[in-house]
């Protein structure tokens, strides 16, 4: 259809594919080429003392899969990503709803409060959490001072610190992608549900959630991917004992100078992310989009 319109108006065959070509080339150059190089590296051999030896071997992948330590890190990363995403959905949905239904100055203020943290880099924000969570940090200072705590909480260098830190990073993205779909759901559709006898809970479950599902999927996917690949937050708040995939890849490449293994680990990370998000999409789609054409 697009095509015939173009034909008629320009008299020349300018298909959508032709128009998309420059962008496609750019993506190919910026994404596919580095990935191809990385894939090639992951098949190379690492001999301590030498930098990288040209080879075609799967030994890096085998090593990762065989070693329970590395498998543990992958499992831990997936677990944290799932948990962070779940928390983001639970916290983000009501906030996004309020945002979508708010008006005027209150709304601008809310959007500002949500977007403002994005102006500060992840590392800087993680440093902020370090100050808050430390043994002598703000949380303990206030908690002890008010008598809520009788001994200082040890939050730093625990999974809890990492989860809080990443949730804070992801939340703005999640809220904004929820808000977009929620704004598209007209208020009168909700009122129609109320009018037909559905309370707020039933209305949320039967009307708002299904209609908001595309935004929930994209927000959750974003959060999952961001967490799987998180680097600064786990390093700064998790410390040396709590390792996730991002920091693992970094230390392999930059500290151990083991580029082939680092490359293999990143490929495994990418593959795991891709497979899990695809499975997630399929499950949600089957549950919520059945019968929709």
């Amino acid at each position: 259809m697009t095509r015939t319109t173009f034909d008629r108006e320009n008299g020349s065959v300018l298909s959508a594919a032709t128009l998309a070509a420059p962008a496609t080339l750019l993506v190919a150059a910026g994404l596919v080429v580095p990935l191809a190089i990385l894939l090639r590296y992951s098949l190379n051999q690492f001999i301590p003392g030498q930098f990288m030896t040209e080879a075609l071997t799967l030994e890096n992948y085998v090593r990762f899969v065989a070693d329970p330590y590395f498998r543990g890190i992958l499992g831990q990363t997936i677990g944290i990503a799932a948990l962070v995403t779940a928390i983001c959905i639970v916290i983000g949905f009501p906030l996004a709803y309020v945002l979508a239904r708010a008006g005027g100055r209150f709304k601008s203020l809310l959007i500002l409060a949500i977007v403002l943290p994005l102006f500060v880099g992840n590392a800087v924000r993680a440093a902020g959490w370090m100050i808050a969570f430390g043994t002598n940090g703000v949380v303990n200072y206030v908690g002890l001072g008010l008598g809520i705590l009788n001994q200082p909480l040890e939050i730093m260098y625990t999974p809890t610190a990492v989860i809080i830190g990443i949730v804070a990073v992801n939340l703005p993205f999640v809220i904004l992608s929820f808000q977009t779909v929620l704004e598209g759901i007209s208020r009168s559709v909700e009122e129609a549900a109320f009018n037909l006898g559905a309370g707020p809970l039933a209305t949320t479950r039967r009307i708002i959630l299904p209609l908001a599902m595309p935004g929930i999927i994209s927000g959750a996917t974003l959060s999952f991917i961001l967490t799987m690949n998180a680097y600064a937050t786990p390093v700064l708040l998790g410390g040396p004992s709590f390792v996730m995939m991002g920091p693992l890849v970094y230390s392999q490449v930059m500290t151990q100078m083991n580029w082939p293994f680092g490359a293999a680990a990143s490929f495994i990370l990418m593959l795991a992310t891709l497979v899990l998000t695809t499975i997630g999409h399929l499950i949600v789609q089957r549950r919520y989009s059945s019968g929709r054409n």
Partner: protein
């Protein structure tokens, strides 16, 4: 079905009253229209009845129950929204079933009632379509079926016909009215279209500026408007402004001496002073300029609008007043600039003091 009583209903936003002391009753099985110009508070009133707006003051009673503080989902009103507000992710049948499912009615009965509600609006063949795949008129009927299926105590219609084209509107008007009478639904309909209100309603509530101006049957509002606003909004009128100089005697601003009733529209004696006369267009007779009986006024045709079943002729009297006459047909063709003889019966004149 139940009686609806609205009493002293008021909604104030800041220092602006969207509805002020609105009181009326709708009897069992009665269809009452809320009519008035844009922004007069019709939707506000309807939404207070549905429970979407909390009134500042006043109460809403359905049957024996004061529902003023009851949540909208517990009120058991059936509302048809102006934009229909169908659930886009549900089929026609699922839309209609929703309210029944919320009432925890069993599957077999739901299917049966959905089926009969859809048959009522003659849409059973579209039960499995999604709302976006049916026409606006069909969507309107689905919304109606959905509201009626729950057997609401009161049916609320917010400008139900405003999104339909003129031809369809007339047909749906009759359909809604027939259905409402068959099921004896206590109904409130919001509209700003006086034709719609006059043809469909048992009674009308005319509002202006958040205040009820007059309540009555279509005939009462047309024949006995209590204020100039009502006479102007319901049907057409020619207004002549001036003053009462003696009982039964009126002088227009332009100086024409006319006879006028001795009482004003509310029945009070008309004292001397400023007043306005109103005459319905069908009460104004036009004749050839040479005619002298019945006694009347010389005039000149200013504009002729042909409306098929009737013709509206705008005439300027020799003394300067503008009047409109509605004719079934023209005995002789009248055209702009033609002189004519204008007359009306004294009994057809209504007087307002404001």
């Amino acid at each position: 079905m139940s009686r609806l009583v609205v009493s002293g209903l008021t909604k104030i936003y800041g220092n602006f009253a969207a509805a002020k002391d609105v009181s009326f009753e709708v009897g069992e099985g009665e269809l009452v229209s809320l009519l008035g110009p844009s922004g007069c508070g019709k939707t506000t009133t309807l939404r207070m009845i549905a429970g979407f707006i909390t009134p500042t003051r006043g109460s809403v009673t359905i049957g024996e129950d004061d529902v003023t503080r009851i949540a909208p989902w517990s009120r058991n009103t059936g509302m048809v929204f102006q934009n229909y507000a169908l659930f886009p992710h549900m089929t026609v049948a699922q839309n209609v079933a929703f309210g029944l499912e919320m009432r925890r009615i069993g599957g077999a009965e739901v299917r049966e009632r959905v089926q009969s509600a859809l048959q009522m609006v003659r849409l059973d063949h579209l039960a499995d379509r999604y709302p976006r795949n049916i026409s606006g008129g069909q969507q309107q009927r689905v919304a109606l079926a959905r509201a009626v299926a729950i057997r609401p105590r009161v049916l609320l219609l917010d400008e139900p016909l405003s999104n339909l084209d003129a031809k369809l509107r007339e047909q749906v008007r009759i359909e809604i009215r027939t259905l409402q009478q068959e099921l004896k639904l206590t109904t409130i309909m919001v509209t700003h279209d006086q034709d719609e209100a006059l043809t469909m309603s048992d009674r009308l509530i005319l509002m202006e500026g958040g205040v009820v101006q007059q309540i009555g049957t279509p005939r009462e509002l047309y024949n006995r408007p209590r204020s100039r606003f009502v006479a102007d909004f319901v049907g057409q009128s020619s207004f002549i402004e001036g003053e009462v100089v003696a009982p039964g005697q009126f002088r227009s601003i332009q100086g024409a001496l006319l006879s006028c009733p001795e009482r004003d529209a509310s029945g009070a004696t008309l004292n001397t002073g400023k007043a306005t006369l109103a005459i319905r267009p069908e009460a104004i007779r036009l004749g050839p300029a040479a005619e002298t009986a019945p006694p009347g006024h010389a005039g000149k045709v200013e504009f002729v609008s042909y409306l098929g079943s009737r013709i509206d002729v705008h005439v300027r009297l020799a003394t300067g007043e503008a009047v409109i006459s509605t004719l079934r047909d023209l005995a002789e063709p009248l055209s702009v600039g033609d002189p004519c003889h204008v007359s009306w019966a004294d009994a057809s004149v209504t007087a307002f003091t404001a």
